[in-house]
Amino acid sequence: MHNAAALLPGTLDMLILKAVSLKPLHGYGVLLRIRQISNAALEIPQGSLYPALYRLEHHGLITAEWGQSENNRRAKFYTLTAAGRRRLRAETAGWNRLASAIAAALNATSEEV
């Protein structure tokens, strides 16, 4: 874990939406899924996870429903809503643009200037 990168501000929401978009998950599941899909390269601030989930629910991007966990315990499962899907798409596109722009900038060589 010591070499995991800290999250850029504002990216936690995006990652949660992505995690939930694959399959309905409970809060702990979201944490595990983000670790899994990022190959444990990202450090998730756990204290911010639940407030972020609640904020996304409040904004109608995800919905919550109580269900059974893998080991038959009651857990709250989050599902992406249509609005959440749209938001995820927009954020992904925005991120990709930003990332490639920054990558291009950082890869610039002296000949290109």
Partner: protein, 888 residues
């Protein structure tokens, strides 16, 4: 936005579930994580430590989650609300005073606003009501300000004034409706075919009238109001084509109006075509309006009032070119005025209502100042507590919201009580005759008003919070901690503020008192005016004789029968008939031509009240005879061409000679010698329009045979109370014709008293307001003075201990209140002068600055204020130095 509000609402309604869910979710997270860590070989204790480090405190997480939903604001609010309730319950005397003040002030405002709203603000229930105009002829130099419009006007103007999209005429009436044996007298309207299209609201069922239906041979059709249709026909959808008898003439129902149809203040149940004969529409009849027929018009969407007015003026000018009477008409100052319909309808009551609104706003201002003062005193009592809390780190936002919650809670609760007071107030206004105001029947207490009142209450709460919050925040903490404690003195600024408030309260109460005094004095002066006859013991009632059943001869026969039957009844001193009794509300005038009178240059024809009388009308009413004789029952029987004029008429036309024996003609055109009426008597002048009428235009009394209107009033002078004779009178009329009811049965005293409603009710209300204002002021003064005494308890104790006499202490506080009183009264004098000037149009024979009124107001304020100051001053004088110095 909506989504968030909905989710917040869902959370708030299921708050317990939300909290439980949050705890369960976090517990689940911790347990799962622990299991995973233990499974990877970590000890349980280590796992707990790791999780604690990574997750942080569950309490903080929960707080963040609540914030994510915006729930925390609500929690904070509830906490402050509970705190405010606790604080208010700790000071029941303050809370009760504040709530009562708010309830009375807001309730009074709500009541008056309800009237203003329905009479002056709420639009008429027609499409684009602001486009509706009324047009009337005026002959100011002839003493006729308002003469309605004539049929000729209508037919000449229809479709010829481009600025008007539509133009129509109507007249109010009452008719006997129903089959013989079950008739009732109903309000009706006669309207031209385009009346409904001008208003933009036509029948819900059926059709409107056509142009073909405007002659007396073809007008046998009727349109019903929704209420009448429901009540008489049980809302029968097949009512069209059915017969309805109006004044004994059968008519066919051709339409039913929608429930929302209500023309101004009219309660008309049946609408009939305004039929006329071709000769009534001739140019020679152009100026024969007589205030019977009224005209309305709808402006074109792009036309302005001024445009319509100039087009109308141009048409009038063009038409007068070949009018033989043009000179006389011009001398009379003739014009046809275009005025917005609604404004015109309520013009008479507008100043009174605005005055009352101003009065009630002043009352609210006094109440508000009072409360701010009491709240400030309360705030200084808590200054130390709040300073300590600020010193301990309470943020200004928190303190402001705490103050805001407290004041708003107070005003909101006061507002709720105010709703009850307002509802009662509207009831009170009804009993004072508010529904007789134009559009007054629309006065209701509805959800709209309630919302306005509660919003106003909340706004008031916010306004109250400002000075209190400012008081707490602007203080230097160190000073606050010291001041008003054992070693300190009271804050100078706060004291000045409190005193300013008291002075302004006294001034405002004084203004209200003076205003109420002026209205009361006006009322008294009006009541002292003689109506010109002996109004006691006279019963009057209106009888409508339908033309169909009562042509000329029949009318005279009916009147004769009625007089004969009445004269023989015990308790009847004398009885008479007139076609328009004084104070009936009908103030139409007509012209007369006096033999030998040549109009001086610039002198116009004059409109006179013209009556047709029968029986012993003059004795029944108690007129005074100035010269000659009264018309007798014989005069109306023999149809002799004689008449009686009043002294104003006689003085105007024959200033230097006797009126008796002079000749005059009915109408402005004169006539043949054998059509002239000979004046046989002169009677005293009589007020027709109201006691405040001051134009003495003159009146002529003709025998009834020459003025056969279909509406007559019977006047009976009784030896007993006139009201008790009402049933007998109805019985007598029913014996002659069971289908002719007597309506509007009132004694002359009642008529006069009813005509004063517009003066009495405002005076009463103003009196009530100023009474409340005085009470509020005394509460305020008492509060401030008591506080001053309590605050300076120790200082006073020291002075008494050093030898000051109790009398000196008492005088000190009394002189303080006297200074405030003098300042307030002087300021009030200035305000009362301005207020008096503003309400000049409502005063009658009272100057805006009346010494007696001002002196009375000053005495009252002084008495009340000094009385309230006695108790705290007395308390100050009785402070025991031992006890006071031992405290703390």
């Amino acid at each position: 936005m909506f989504q968030r509000l909905r989710s917040l609402f869902l959370v708030l309604t299921r708050r317990r579930d939300f909290e439980d869910g949050m705890s369960e979710e976090l517990r689940f997270h911790i347990e799962q994580y622990t299991e995973d860590l233990v499974r990877s070989g970590m000890s349980r204790e280590k796992a707990a430590r790791v999780i604690r480090a990574e997750l942080g405190s569950p309490i903080n997480i929960k707080a963040d989650c609540r914030e994510a939903f915006g729930v925390h604001f609500f929690d904070e609010f509830l906490r402050q609300l509970r705190y405010a309730v606790r604080l208010l319950r700790k000071t029941p005397a303050f809370t009760a005073t504040a709530l009562l003040t708010l309830a009375v002030c807001l309730g009074a405002n709500l009541t008056i606003f309800a009237v203003i709203d329905s009479v002056l603000l709420r639009p008429l229930s027609f499409p684009q009501p602001d486009r509706l105009m009324t047009i009337f002829n005026t002959y100011p130099k002839a003493g006729v300000d308002r003469d309605g419009s004539s049929l000729t006007n209508y037919y000449e103007r229809r479709n010829r004034i481009p600025a008007f999209a539509s133009l129509s005429i109507y007249s109010y009436g009452t008719e006997i409706v129903g089959e013989p044996g079950s008739t009732e007298r109903l309000q009706t309207m006669r309207v031209s075919p385009d009346f409904f299209s001008t208003l933009g609201l036509g029948p819900a069922i059926g059709r409107t009238f056509t142009d073909e239906e405007t002659t007396s041979e073809t007008d046998h059709v009727a349109i019903l109001s929704d209420a009448f249709w429901r009540q008489r026909y049980n809302a029968d959808p097949n009512v069209l084509g059915k017969q309805i008898r109006v004044n004994s003439v059968p008519r066919k129902v051709i339409g039913v109006l929608p429930p929302s149809f209500r023309f101004l203040s009219s309660d008309a149940r049946v609408f009939l075509p305004l039929a006329s004969r071709p000769e009534d529409r001739l140019p020679s009849r152009r100026h024969s309006g007589g205030n019977v027929i009224q005209m309305i018009a709808r402006l074109q969407p792009d036309a302005a009032l001024a445009q319509a007015q100039s087009q109308l003026d141009a048409q009038n000018a063009a038409l007068e070119v070949d009018d033989p009477q043009a000179k006389m008409i011009a001398d009379a100052g003739f014009r046809s005025l275009v005025v917005p319909l609604r404004a015109d309808h309520v013009a008479a009551v507008r100043p009174t209502l605005l005055l009352l609104e101003a009065g009630v706003l002043v009352l609210l201002l006094i109440g508000a100042v009072n409360l701010v003062n009491l709240l400030l005193i309360r705030a200084s009592a808590r200054a130390k507590e709040l300073a300590v809390r600020q010193a301990l780190g309470a943020g200004w936002r928190y303190l402001v919201s705490e103050v805001l919650v407290e004041t708003t809670l107070l005003t909101f609760a006061g507002g709720l009580l105010g709703l009850a007071v307002g509802a009662a107030g509207i009831q009170l206004l009804r009993s004072l005759g508010a529904d007789r105001l134009p559009l007054g029947t629309r006065i209701v207490f509805d959800a709209r008003l309630a919302i306005v009142a509660l919003v106003a209450a909340i706004v008031l709460g916010i306004v109250f919070a400002l000075p209190i919050a400012g008081f707490h925040l602007r203080r230097h903490l160190g000073n606050a901690l010291h001041s008003e404690s054992r070693g300190g003195t009271s804050g100078r600024g706060a004291q000045i503020l409190r005193h300013t408030f008291i002075v302004s309260q006294i001034a405002l109460a004084f203004i209200l008192l003076a205003g109420a005094g002026l209205l009361g004095l006006s009322l008294q002066r009006v009541l002292a005016v003689s109506p010109g006859f002996q109004s006691d013991h006279v019963l009057t009632g209106q009888i409508l004789l339908p033309w169909a059943d009562y042509p000329e001869a029949g009318r005279l026969k009916f009147v004769q029968n009625l007089m004969d039957n009445l004269d023989h009844l015990p308790g009847v001193l004398s009885a008479g008939i007139v076609n328009n009794v004084p104070f009936s509300g009908n103030i139409g005038k007509s012209a007369a031509t006096v033999a030998g009178h040549v109009r001086r240059p610039g002198e116009s024809a004059r409109g006179h009240y013209s009556y047709g009388v029968a029986g012993d009308y003059f004795r029944a009413m108690g007129f005074s005879l100035r010269a000659g004789r009264f018309l007798t029952a014989d005069d109306s029987l023999r149809s002799s061409r004689v008449c009686v004029v009043d002294e104003d008429f006689a003085r105007y036309y024959w200033p230097h000679s006797s009126a008796i024996g002079q000749a005059l003609w009915d109408g402005s055109e004169g006539g043949k010698d054998d059509e002239a009426f000979t004046v046989v008597g002169v009677v005293g002048g009589v007020k027709q329009a109201g006691l405040t009428e001051n134009e003495a235009q003159g009146a002529i009394y003709y025998p009834y045979a020459f003025r056969l209107g279909d509406s007559i009033f019977v006047a009976v002078r009784t030896s007993q109370s006139p009201e008790s004779f009402a049933i007998t009178l109805q019985k007598v009329v029913r014996q002659i014709d069971p289908d002719v009811p007597v309506s509007d049965l009132r004694s002359m005293d009642t008529r006069i008293s009813d005509s004063l409603v517009a003066r009495r009710s405002p005076a009463l209300l103003a009196g009530l307001f100023s009474g409340i204002a005085l009470l509020l002021t005394s509460i305020g003064t008492y509060g401030v003075l008591s506080y001053a005494v309590a605050q300076r308890r120790r200082e006073i104790a020291v002075r008494i201990a050093l030898g000051a006499q109790p009398g000196q202490i008492r005088v000190q506080f009394l002189s303080l209140s006297l200074r405030l009183l003098v300042a307030g009264t002087l300021l009030g004098l200035l305000g009362a002068w301005q207020a008096g000037r503003a309400m000049r149009s409502l005063l009658f024979q009272v100057p805006p600055l009346n010494l007696a009124v001002l002196a009375t107001a000053a005495c009252l304020t002084t008495l009340v204020c000094l009385a309230t100051c006695l108790l705290p001053s007395q308390r100050a004088a009785q402070i025991s130095p031992m006890e006071a110095l031992a405290e703390q």
